[in-house]
């Protein structure tokens, strides 16, 4: 089944890396097909930026998003830019400290705060990926961990896997609560 994932935030949060990790997990470690596309416009620095990943069991022809089934929002600007026209069935996950206004029912996690508690604010994107993985189950935990381990600098692998675990546990809890 074709799944369309959009990750949105601001330049510097590691949104593109997060998208790369999702695509790599799917295409190399989870036996699926995946394509990552990203915005290359001048707005890619500073303001809202996004990474878009299509995941499917079959080969993917059309690489662009038509209607995201999963939306991960890590800033208020991204929420305004990408979080307005969405299908009711879409799964929207937010960074609760950074997205200021959002419907109650959207699952949320203070990813940046949790990453800070682990000692590296910069891993907020990985906390968010853990949350997404646990909450949506589109990709396996193992594939995501493998993709993280082979994509981040070697000295930060352990930290990032811890960040992922924190997010993942929160995501699983959330999905169990709503199930």
């Amino acid at each position: 089944m074709r799944q369309e994932i959009r990750l949105g935030g601001f330049g510097g949060q590691g949104i593109i890396l997060a998208g790369y990790i999702v695509g790599k997990a799917a295409a190399l470690y989870d036996g699926k097909e995946a394509i990552l596309t990203q915005s290359y416009g001048p707005e890619a620095r500073g303001g809202a930026c996004s990474a878009e990943v299509v995941v499917d069991d079959k080969p993917i022809d059309y690489p662009m998003l038509t209607s995201p089934s999963v939306l991960v929002l890590m800033s208020q600007e991204a929420r305004q830019k990408y979080g307005t026209e969405i299908e009711p069935s879409a799964n929207v996950l937010i960074e609760s400290d950074l997205v200021e206004e959002a419907p109650e029912e959207w699952p949320r996690i203070p990813a940046t705060r949790l990453a800070e508690e682990l000692g590296a604010r910069i891993s907020a994107n990985i906390v968010m990926l853990g949350f997404m993985t646990g909450a949506t189950r589109i990709l396996s935990r193992e594939a995501m961990e493998e993709a993280i381990s082979t994509s981040v600098p070697a000295r930060t692998v352990e930290l990032n896997l811890r960040a992922f675990a924190v997010g993942y546990e929160n995501g699983v809890q959330h999905s169990e609560v709503t199930a």
Partner: protein, 398 residues
């Protein structure tokens, strides 16, 4: 060279890789040892990757002062025996045209990658287009052979770059990889095979002893004379002027006609070997989509949708835009097929389809900036089928 150094040419394995990066790795796998270029979006990642990768294997990366110098350096490197390349986009491709012709008349194998963006001029620096297709064929002045590959995936960015180097050496002429921004900037799985599985066409070299009696530009029947290396003992004149078989300028009508006919004739001679297409469900197709590059992905998606509706649609995907598979188009036209040609320009390859089909076709055009949506293509096919009218009509997308 130790075995380890050898291994770094070919990154055998499965990767999740950007299209431009895959192109650079194709060059590495093909044994490219020289890149001269001037980085320009959306091709910059190719230069970036090779700036890091080439020095690892003793190769050379030079950032030149502009695109005129870039292509000139690539031609020079080729004469030393190197496999050489450059990568650019619209404005840079325009600047390279004159020396692409120099490469053609001096029969200098090399690879030029154009990751197409919206033009004319600086146009849309970061956004997709396919509007340089005719420039790829006729951009330099004079009659000359043009070979252009159109990758439609990151895997093909790798594979067709390898193939471009082989074709360049086979024909002794510059070969183009006409990618587009959507393919260059997307990231997909790329499988790089073992070094032993990568084909390598050796450049034809003169035999040391034979060179005394052999004229450097003498055709040996294959239309491609052997190419000596600069600095290896041969005294050879390399000139953009019309030259005789000795390589000396000879600017008379008879010599010119003979030389240009041989150069252009390479294309006809090797066409059956070079032309590559992918045929998708053509067996029972009444309407044929002719598409290439990123647009062919939208077309394939449309095709699946239309087949589900029970419509007999197929696709002829151009892997080589040049030489163009005109005979195949003619065969399909004779069978009664109609053609729909979606492309991100105002109708360039459509001209070739039309003149080979000898009939009106449906054009679906957008000047660029966005990939074509499958639904737009599907709608054009449905209309073509229901109207089935003879006159050419043009659709524009808002």
């Amino acid at each position: 060279m130790s075995e380890n150094e050898e291994d770094r040419h070919v990154l055998t394995g499965r990767h999740f890789m950007n299209g431009d990066t895959a192109c650079a790795e194709g060059a590495m796998a093909a044994g490219c040892s020289f890149f001269g270029g001037y980085p320009i979006t959306p091709s910059t990642e190719i230069a970036e990757r090779l700036a890091r990768r080439l020095p690892e294997v003793g190769g050379v990366y030079i950032q030149m002062e502009d695109e005129l110098a870039s292509i000139a350096s690539v031609l020079g490197a080729s004469w030393t025996g190197a496999r050489s390349m450059t990568a650019t986009s619209g404005p840079g491709f325009s600047l390279m045209q004159e020396n692409i012709g120099l490469g053609a008349i001096t029969e200098t194998p090399c690879v030029i990658v154009n990751v197409q963006r919206g033009g004319p001029s600086t146009g849309l620096p970061t956004l997709v287009s396919q509007a340089d297709m005719m420039q790829a064929r006729w951009g330099s002045h004079g009659d000359y052979p043009a070979v252009a590959y159109c990758p439609a995936s990151c895997q093909e960015m790798f594979e067709l770059t390898v193939l471009a180097f082989n074709t360049a050496d086979l024909l002794r002429t510059p070969v183009l990889v006409m990618a587009d921004e959507a393919i260059g900037h997307m990231t997909e799985r790329v499988v790089i095979p073992d070094k032993s599985a990568i084909e390598h066409v050796a450049r034809k070299r003169p035999h040391a002893s034979a060179m005394d009696g052999q004229l450097p530009y003498e055709s040996d029947g294959s239309m491609v004379p052997p190419m000596p290396r600069a600095g290896r003992g041969y005294r050879i004149h390399v000139t953009g002027l019309t030259h005789d078989e000795r390589g000396y300028p000879a600017t008379d009508a008879a010599t010119h006609d003979k030389l240009v006919r041989r150069l252009a004739g390479k294309l006809t001679h090797f066409a059956p070997e070079i032309i590559k297409v992918e045929e998708v469900q053509l067996e029972d197709a009444e309407v044929v989509l002719v598409a290439y590059g990123s647009t062919s992905r939208s077309a394939r998606h449309a095709l699946t949708m239309l087949r589900e509706e029970g419509l007999p649609v197929g696709m002829l995907r151009l892997i080589t835009a040049w030489p163009f598979p005109g005979d195949r188009i003619a065969q399909l036209a004779e069978r009664g097929c109609q053609f729909v040609v979606p492309e991100l320009n105002l109708g360039q390859m459509a001209l070739e389809v039309e003149r080979n089909a000898h009939q009106s076709i449906t054009r679906l055009n957008h000047a660029g900036g966005i990939t074509m949506s499958p639904e737009q293509i599907a709608e054009a096919v449905r209309e073509t089928m229901s109207c089935a009218r003879e006159k050419s009509w043009s659709m524009s997308i808002s």
